[in-house]
Chain length 114, copies 2
DNA sequence: AGGGTATATACCCGATTGGATATATACAGG
DNA sequence: CCTGTATATATCCAATCGGGTATATACCCT
Protein backbone atom coordinates (compact mmCIF):
# COMPACT_ATOMS: atom_id res chain seq x y z
CA UNK A 1 0.00 0.00 0.00
CA UNK A 2 1.12 3.47 -0.86
CA UNK A 3 2.16 5.80 1.93
CA UNK A 4 -0.66 8.24 1.22
CA UNK A 5 -3.14 5.37 1.04
CA UNK A 6 -2.03 4.12 4.44
CA UNK A 7 -2.10 7.57 5.98
CA UNK A 8 -5.57 8.49 4.79
CA UNK A 9 -6.92 5.04 5.59
CA UNK A 10 -5.54 5.33 9.11
CA UNK A 11 -7.11 8.77 9.50
CA UNK A 12 -10.49 7.52 8.28
CA UNK A 13 -11.32 6.00 11.67
CA UNK A 14 -12.56 8.25 14.51
CA UNK A 15 -10.96 6.09 17.19
CA UNK A 16 -7.59 6.44 15.51
CA UNK A 17 -8.01 10.18 15.06
CA UNK A 18 -8.90 10.47 18.74
CA UNK A 19 -5.77 8.52 19.62
CA UNK A 20 -3.66 10.90 17.57
CA UNK A 21 -5.41 13.85 19.18
CA UNK A 22 -4.59 12.45 22.59
CA UNK A 23 -0.95 11.99 21.59
CA UNK A 24 -0.62 15.70 20.92
CA UNK A 25 -0.35 16.05 24.69
CA UNK A 26 2.61 13.69 24.71
CA UNK A 27 3.51 10.03 24.90
CA UNK A 28 0.96 7.60 26.26
CA UNK A 29 0.76 3.89 26.97
CA UNK A 30 -1.76 1.54 25.43
CA UNK A 31 -3.78 1.45 28.66
CA UNK A 32 -3.89 5.21 28.84
CA UNK A 33 -4.95 5.45 25.23
CA UNK A 34 -7.60 2.76 25.67
CA UNK A 35 -9.17 4.36 28.74
CA UNK A 36 -11.57 6.80 27.02
CA UNK A 37 -13.01 4.13 24.75
CA UNK A 38 -15.64 1.46 25.34
CA UNK A 39 -13.43 -0.99 23.53
CA UNK A 40 -11.25 -3.94 24.42
CA UNK A 41 -7.50 -3.59 24.79
CA UNK A 42 -6.74 -5.85 21.80
CA UNK A 43 -8.90 -3.65 19.60
CA UNK A 44 -6.92 -0.61 20.68
CA UNK A 45 -3.69 -2.50 20.03
CA UNK A 46 -4.97 -3.24 16.55
CA UNK A 47 -5.70 0.43 15.94
CA UNK A 48 -2.23 1.27 17.18
CA UNK A 49 -0.75 -1.23 14.77
CA UNK A 50 -2.59 0.44 11.90
CA UNK A 51 -1.23 3.80 13.00
CA UNK A 52 2.25 2.38 13.39
CA UNK A 53 2.19 0.68 9.99
CA UNK A 54 1.15 4.00 8.48
CA UNK A 55 4.13 5.57 10.24
CA UNK A 56 1.87 7.94 12.15
CA UNK A 57 3.15 6.81 15.52
CA UNK A 58 6.27 5.14 16.82
CA UNK A 59 6.70 3.18 19.98
CA UNK A 60 9.26 2.99 22.74
CA UNK A 61 9.85 0.61 25.58
CA UNK A 62 9.42 1.47 29.24
CA UNK A 63 9.33 -1.75 31.25
CA UNK A 64 6.11 -3.51 30.18
CA UNK A 65 4.81 -0.37 28.58
CA UNK A 66 5.13 0.48 24.92
CA UNK A 67 4.59 4.22 24.93
CA UNK A 68 3.30 5.73 21.69
CA UNK A 69 4.27 9.08 20.26
CA UNK A 70 3.26 11.03 17.20
CA UNK A 71 5.34 10.91 14.06
CA UNK A 72 4.99 13.94 11.86
CA UNK A 73 6.23 12.90 8.46
CA UNK A 74 3.24 10.99 7.04
CA UNK A 75 0.94 13.68 8.35
CA UNK A 76 3.08 16.21 6.55
CA UNK A 77 2.72 14.31 3.30
CA UNK A 78 -1.04 14.11 3.69
CA UNK A 79 -1.10 17.77 4.57
CA UNK A 80 0.95 18.62 1.48
CA UNK A 81 -1.46 16.69 -0.69
CA UNK A 82 -4.44 18.52 0.74
CA UNK A 83 -2.72 21.87 0.59
CA UNK A 84 -2.40 21.47 -3.15
CA UNK A 85 -6.17 21.22 -3.46
CA UNK A 86 -6.86 23.91 -0.95
CA UNK A 87 -4.74 26.24 -3.01
CA UNK A 88 -6.72 25.47 -6.11
CA UNK A 89 -10.14 25.32 -4.56
CA UNK A 90 -9.89 28.31 -2.32
CA UNK A 91 -7.29 30.31 -4.17
CA UNK A 92 -5.22 30.51 -1.06
CA UNK A 93 -1.70 31.22 -2.25
CA UNK A 94 -0.33 32.23 1.10
CA UNK A 95 -0.48 28.71 2.43
CA UNK A 96 0.98 27.26 -0.74
CA UNK A 97 3.83 29.70 -0.59
CA UNK A 98 4.42 28.76 3.01
CA UNK A 99 4.41 25.12 2.04
CA UNK A 100 6.74 25.54 -0.87
CA UNK A 101 8.95 27.72 1.20
CA UNK A 102 9.19 25.07 3.85
CA UNK A 103 9.77 22.32 1.33
CA UNK A 104 12.08 23.91 -1.14
CA UNK A 105 13.17 27.16 0.53
CA UNK A 106 12.11 28.79 -2.68
CA UNK A 107 9.15 30.80 -3.85
CA UNK A 108 6.83 29.45 -6.51
CA UNK A 109 5.61 32.29 -8.71
CA UNK A 110 2.25 31.65 -10.27
CA UNK A 111 0.25 34.53 -11.62
CA UNK A 112 -2.62 32.49 -13.01
CA UNK A 113 -5.54 32.83 -10.64
CA UNK A 114 -8.46 30.39 -10.74
CA UNK B 1 -20.46 7.98 9.09
CA UNK B 2 -18.85 11.18 10.20
CA UNK B 3 -17.87 13.75 7.59
CA UNK B 4 -14.16 13.44 8.33
CA UNK B 5 -14.43 9.67 8.27
CA UNK B 6 -16.01 9.80 4.82
CA UNK B 7 -13.50 12.32 3.52
CA UNK B 8 -10.40 10.47 4.67
CA UNK B 9 -11.83 7.13 3.59
CA UNK B 10 -12.52 8.54 0.14
CA UNK B 11 -8.98 9.91 -0.06
CA UNK B 12 -7.47 6.58 0.98
CA UNK B 13 -7.84 5.14 -2.52
CA UNK B 14 -5.31 6.05 -5.23
CA UNK B 15 -7.87 5.79 -8.01
CA UNK B 16 -10.09 8.29 -6.24
CA UNK B 17 -7.19 10.64 -5.55
CA UNK B 18 -6.25 10.46 -9.22
CA UNK B 19 -9.83 11.29 -10.17
CA UNK B 20 -9.72 14.35 -7.93
CA UNK B 21 -6.36 15.30 -9.44
CA UNK B 22 -7.87 15.07 -12.90
CA UNK B 23 -10.82 17.23 -11.84
CA UNK B 24 -8.47 20.04 -10.96
CA UNK B 25 -8.36 20.72 -14.68
CA UNK B 26 -12.12 21.13 -14.75
CA UNK B 27 -15.31 19.18 -15.11
CA UNK B 28 -15.16 15.75 -16.68
CA UNK B 29 -17.58 13.01 -17.64
CA UNK B 30 -17.44 9.48 -16.29
CA UNK B 31 -15.98 8.21 -19.57
CA UNK B 32 -13.26 10.82 -19.51
CA UNK B 33 -12.43 10.03 -15.92
CA UNK B 34 -12.38 6.30 -16.60
CA UNK B 35 -10.10 6.52 -19.61
CA UNK B 36 -6.71 6.48 -17.80
CA UNK B 37 -7.58 3.41 -15.75
CA UNK B 38 -7.56 -0.27 -16.57
CA UNK B 39 -10.89 -0.59 -14.84
CA UNK B 40 -14.49 -1.13 -15.85
CA UNK B 41 -16.91 1.77 -16.11
CA UNK B 42 -19.12 0.54 -13.26
CA UNK B 43 -16.09 0.46 -10.97
CA UNK B 44 -15.37 4.07 -11.81
CA UNK B 45 -19.02 4.93 -11.20
CA UNK B 46 -18.70 3.30 -7.80
CA UNK B 47 -15.64 5.38 -6.98
CA UNK B 48 -17.50 8.48 -8.08
CA UNK B 49 -20.37 7.57 -5.81
CA UNK B 50 -17.95 7.30 -2.89
CA UNK B 51 -16.55 10.72 -3.73
CA UNK B 52 -20.03 12.14 -4.13
CA UNK B 53 -21.26 10.67 -0.84
CA UNK B 54 -18.24 12.21 0.85
CA UNK B 55 -19.23 15.52 -0.72
CA UNK B 56 -15.91 15.78 -2.54
CA UNK B 57 -17.54 16.05 -5.94
CA UNK B 58 -20.92 17.11 -7.26
CA UNK B 59 -22.52 16.21 -10.53
CA UNK B 60 -24.45 18.01 -13.20
CA UNK B 61 -26.44 16.92 -16.19
CA UNK B 62 -25.45 17.47 -19.81
CA UNK B 63 -27.55 15.24 -22.04
CA UNK B 64 -26.47 11.66 -21.19
CA UNK B 65 -23.45 12.92 -19.40
CA UNK B 66 -23.16 13.49 -15.68
CA UNK B 67 -20.16 15.80 -15.45
CA UNK B 68 -18.26 15.77 -12.17
CA UNK B 69 -16.67 18.75 -10.51
CA UNK B 70 -14.66 19.27 -7.37
CA UNK B 71 -16.29 20.44 -4.15
CA UNK B 72 -14.08 22.22 -1.68
CA UNK B 73 -15.79 22.07 1.68
CA UNK B 74 -15.01 18.56 2.95
CA UNK B 75 -11.42 18.99 1.86
CA UNK B 76 -11.22 22.15 3.87
CA UNK B 77 -12.39 20.29 6.95
CA UNK B 78 -9.82 17.56 6.47
CA UNK B 79 -7.20 20.18 5.85
CA UNK B 80 -8.14 22.03 9.02
CA UNK B 81 -7.81 18.82 10.99
CA UNK B 82 -4.32 18.21 9.61
CA UNK B 83 -3.31 21.83 10.02
CA UNK B 84 -3.72 21.42 13.73
CA UNK B 85 -1.08 18.71 13.68
CA UNK B 86 1.17 20.65 11.37
CA UNK B 87 1.30 23.43 13.91
CA UNK B 88 2.19 20.94 16.63
CA UNK B 89 4.96 19.32 14.69
CA UNK B 90 6.34 22.61 13.51
CA UNK B 91 6.49 23.62 17.14
CA UNK B 92 8.27 20.39 17.93
CA UNK B 93 10.75 20.95 15.14
CA UNK B 94 11.46 24.42 16.43
CA UNK B 95 12.18 23.05 19.87
CA UNK B 96 14.30 20.35 18.33
CA UNK B 97 16.22 22.89 16.32
CA UNK B 98 16.72 24.96 19.40
CA UNK B 99 18.13 21.94 21.19
CA UNK B 100 20.25 20.38 18.53
CA UNK B 101 21.15 23.48 16.60
CA UNK B 102 21.60 22.01 13.19
CA UNK B 103 19.87 18.81 12.30
CA UNK B 104 18.99 18.52 8.68
CA UNK B 105 18.05 15.21 7.11
CA UNK B 106 14.83 16.32 5.55
CA UNK B 107 14.08 15.23 2.06
CA UNK B 108 11.32 16.89 0.08
CA UNK B 109 10.04 14.44 -2.51
CA UNK B 110 7.25 15.73 -4.70
CA UNK B 111 5.55 12.36 -4.99
CA UNK B 112 2.01 13.07 -6.02
CA UNK B 113 0.56 9.80 -7.14
CA UNK B 114 -2.05 9.89 -9.82
C1' DA C 1 10.28 -19.43 40.48
C1' DG C 2 5.73 -17.37 40.76
C1' DG C 3 2.40 -13.66 40.43
C1' DG C 4 0.83 -9.41 38.61
C1' DT C 5 0.62 -6.04 34.94
C1' DA C 6 1.02 -4.39 30.10
C1' DT C 7 0.74 -5.57 25.56
C1' DA C 8 0.57 -8.61 21.52
C1' DT C 9 -1.16 -12.47 18.84
C1' DA C 10 -4.49 -15.84 17.20
C1' DC C 11 -8.84 -16.80 15.79
C1' DC C 12 -13.78 -15.88 14.93
C1' DC C 13 -17.43 -13.23 12.83
C1' DG C 14 -20.39 -9.96 10.43
C1' DA C 15 -20.01 -5.75 7.59
C1' DT C 16 -17.76 -3.28 4.14
C1' DT C 17 -14.77 -2.73 0.08
C1' DG C 18 -13.18 -2.93 -4.55
C1' DG C 19 -13.22 -5.35 -8.39
C1' DA C 20 -15.94 -7.98 -12.06
C1' DT C 21 -20.02 -8.86 -15.43
C1' DA C 22 -24.70 -8.36 -16.89
C1' DT C 23 -28.53 -5.51 -17.20
C1' DA C 24 -31.31 -1.36 -16.71
C1' DT C 25 -32.13 3.48 -17.35
C1' DA C 26 -31.72 8.18 -19.57
C1' DC C 27 -31.10 10.75 -23.35
C1' DA C 28 -30.03 12.28 -28.56
C1' DG C 29 -30.89 11.84 -33.17
C1' DG C 30 -32.58 9.68 -37.39
C1' DC D 1 -39.79 4.00 -32.50
C1' DC D 2 -35.12 2.30 -32.80
C1' DT D 3 -30.25 2.66 -32.16
C1' DG D 4 -26.31 4.18 -30.08
C1' DT D 5 -24.11 6.34 -26.18
C1' DA D 6 -23.46 7.53 -21.28
C1' DT D 7 -24.22 6.17 -16.87
C1' DA D 8 -26.34 3.65 -13.05
C1' DT D 9 -27.85 -0.50 -10.69
C1' DA D 10 -27.82 -5.40 -9.45
C1' DT D 11 -25.40 -9.29 -8.13
C1' DC D 12 -21.35 -11.86 -7.12
C1' DC D 13 -16.92 -12.74 -5.03
C1' DA D 14 -12.57 -12.52 -2.51
C1' DA D 15 -10.21 -9.59 0.62
C1' DT D 16 -10.02 -6.42 4.29
C1' DC D 17 -11.87 -4.24 8.49
C1' DG D 18 -13.24 -3.59 13.03
C1' DG D 19 -14.98 -5.57 16.72
C1' DG D 20 -14.96 -9.54 20.05
C1' DT D 21 -12.68 -13.42 23.33
C1' DA D 22 -8.95 -16.40 24.62
C1' DT D 23 -4.27 -16.94 25.04
C1' DA D 24 0.59 -15.88 24.69
C1' DT D 25 4.51 -12.99 25.59
C1' DA D 26 7.33 -9.55 28.01
C1' DC D 27 8.61 -7.44 31.90
C1' DC D 28 8.72 -6.15 37.03
C1' DC D 29 8.72 -7.45 41.80
C1' DT D 30 9.03 -10.46 45.84
Amino acid sequence: MDQLDATFAALADPTRRAILARLIQGEASVMELAEPFAMSQPSISKHLKVLENAGLISRGRDAQRRPCRLEAKPLAEANDWLERYRKIWEGNFQRLDALLGAMKAEKAPDSTDQ
